[in-house]
């Protein structure tokens, strides 16, 4: 057999380090495609001039390009036999990615636990994306439910302790970033860090009806090989599941309207793909401001934001039973950098 069946639950060992395949050089093409695939309008990621005005050498690639590229590389080793992508934690962006950088990914298995069903197990991995200098550009913990090959396995239980939120004092600000002369008019909105209050809800107003070709173009661009996104024969209902990261990028781009100045994603506290998204869905987004924190860079503050993507009208998050409502696609908890 020249093709591999992917790993099953019992193939993982606690502490094991998996170097994922296919490094990738990113550049001007990925940048333009990101703008074509998502209604992204953040000024730092749109304009070299604007990026220079806030202390950077040029416009970096969108933070989520790094995330998706790294995530995509992990799929053949982590989630080919996954039943569900359960959560994220302790995600941090440590360096911007620039055109010409080459990304690769490494994951460490940090937790293992059989589920009560007997057919699956949970696998926690800490994944790091590295550039051509071997420096980490993004890292995050993800856990997935993976099929077992056999029902009876001998895997010691280890559930990692994960921080419920990335401590703001550990947020890494891009080197040189200085928002003290930030041009709010050119960025598209006047709202500063201090204008956002914990508890505040922002309806991002815009919506996009999603097409098959779009999510497949995106998912291939990130070299994510999960069959369910491409092949109508993979699900009983004959539908192609949209990669959860596509919904993340779509919601993040929609959040420009109300959060135009949330220029950088610097941490991922948690996230749930609450319900599957399919072509034909009209995706909207709203944000709840969860917290604010000060940051040791001139003119820069951090906002902790809950970004929710919904199918159809934005509304409540959970039903009386505590479960996500069926219209909810994404519930993402992240830290962003905003001018003060």
């Amino acid at each position: 057999m020249k093709t591999g069946p992917g790993r099953f639950f019992e193939d993982y060992r606690l502490g094991e380090v998996i170097a994922h395949a296919v490094p990738r050089t990113v550049g001007a093409g990925e940048r333009a495609l990101y703008h074509a695939l998502y209604p992204a309008r953040g000024a730092v990621h749109s304009s070299d001039e604007f990026a220079r005005s806030v202390g950077l050498a040029a416009s970096p690639l969108d933070d989520l390009i790094a995330f998706h590229m790294v995530f995509g590389k992990t799929v053949p080793d982590i989630s080919l036999n996954a039943v569900a992508n359960l959560g994220y934690a302790e995600g941090r962006w440590l360096k911007p990615v620039w055109p010409g950088d080459t990304l690769r990914a490494v994951s460490e298995v940090i937790g293992l636990k059989e589920t009560s069903s007997g057919a699956t197990g949970l696998v926690w991995v800490r994944t790091r994306g590295l550039d051509q200098r071997g420096e980490v550009v993004v890292e995050y913990v993800r856990w997935v439910m993976v099929r077992k090959r056999r029902r009876e396995v001998d895997v010691p239980v280890h559930v990692p302790e994960l921080a419920p939120v990335v401590a703001p004092e550990t947020l890494v600000v891009p080197e040189g970033l200085d928002f003290s002369r930030y041009d709010f008019a050119l960025a598209g909105e006047r709202h500063r860090w201090g204008d956002y209050r914990p508890g505040e809800i922002i309806d991002h107003v815009d919506a996009v009806t999603v097409e098959e070709a779009e999510h497949m173009l995106a998912t291939r661009l990130w070299q994510n090989t999960s069959k369910v996104h491409f092949d109508v024969g993979q699900r009983e209902d004959g539908r192609r599941l949209i990669y959860g990261g596509h919904v993340i990028s779509l919601a993040r781009a929609l959040s420009f309207n109300g959060l135009a100045n949330a220029q950088f994603i610097v941490a991922l506290n948690g996230g749930a793909h609450a319900n599957p998204c399919f072509a034909g869905d009209t995706v909207r987004a709203w944000t709840e401001v969860l917290d604010r924190a000060e940051v040791a860079a001139p003119g820069v503050g951090a906002l902790r934001l809950r970004l929710v993507a919904t199918r159809g009208e934005a509304g409540a998050l959970r039903g009386a039973d505590g479960k996500y409502l069926p219209e909810v696609l994404l519930d993402l908890d992240y830290w962003a950098l905003v001018p003060t």
Copy 2:
């Protein structure tokens, strides 16, 4: 409210200058996407080598990329509450845009007039696209019908006088352009400036059946945020309206077959989006040669062209009532540079 409702008719003041948000650096990615989105084959915009053979430093980005980018930036300030995009005039391309250039846009309100309905008003703006050196790369007048917030408003009427056609002596030829050693075989057609006669009609033969994913990718690439292009909930018929500029680029690209040597668009005399275009439409194009003019650059002449895009078979332009026939999508009047 962190999101804005957009401007209504009474929010504009004559002479007001609006600096539009989100500067954008364009490059190799936008160039490739333009070729993927439209059947564009113009040799100057396809090949660095060909561009150098006509006196340029390299292949510039398609003239319409500059137009769409600038137009897209104006949408949140000009046409978010527009009912109709009524016309263009006095458009000129003043400098080619090169990979690495950063574009921003500024509009001046040059005309205001209530309509007889009482619910809307007309707003004329002169928009300029500037590069990172602050030099104007493209400028044009556009007027739109915008909703009023209240029926009773106190806005003095001012209807600008607009030139029916850009005077050929004011056309700006890209610096260094020299068509005297133009390679017609490599460009794809043998027809010179002198071969085109006013009154001549050219059927461009080719056609493209348009898909939702394509026009949305394009419209996002230009960072045009108008909701009707993306969200099926915006129109009563549940259809997504295709951005008029997408039809312009499609028709222009289709016109290669018969106008392969019309290398540069240098002026926009006028234009009407005669009927809405939707996915599934099969778009064709024909051109009427309106005029010829001499230009002070070696081997370069100008043709004034009427470019008409239709849905289905190309045919007449207007019915007995003087109105555009329902098959007509676009009626665009422009000046192009052609080798003599």
Copy 3:
């Protein structure tokens, strides 16, 4: 008439050399679009770092980008009035294409023969793609069935002798290529040249359900102007035929799973577009290892591979009548370079 009707059978002369129009500079944008359009994951074509580790200056563009670009240029002169694209032979890739290279194409008519129907004739051309230095980057023979203008024509028969397979000693290895320190883990699979045995069949497992927007984006990117790919009015069934080269790239990219180390396509021995492909088809691929050959470059071997793309489940190639089964889309015979 400013537009041409294309050439008919009797318009070709044996030995005639046709310089095709519209040179094209390729770069970072085409590279990213290739990754978005196809599930391509080859490490050399994904990563500058990996490419450097095998002796190249940087990551070249995918070998099939060169092929499609060159093929696209020939369409207006060779296949505008073609009824069928019948075969390929004697294809060789002579130089990698790098970002910034400009490609043009020249074809020589090497064979002509009327068909028994009286309505068409066969035209053989040897096409060469040249870069800005005038050096050949790819060459191949293709033959097509072309409509006649008149039934009675006076065209001497000449059927070229074509090699059934490109002799392995004539394969050209990219300058500097050295697989002796090849990183199999980073490339995604551990299989070496010696692990593949003639007669071995590899099912590539993955599948992609194809969308209209995708194949049109690709076909335009290669500036292929054949109407049947874009215009629903071209076929009686109202369907848009997918460019055969799109199926080649799709199948080649799917073959990563099992052939991740087949990094370069260096020769095209033959190929048949067995049945038309349409949007909605779910494309799979399998490969038969046909032969192995040694190559005079450190750590590099050649595999001769039959790549078959099918609609739906992979299975047999031909029926009892010797004809391709209706599920077979592509039967491609090529040489690839693989680490030993």
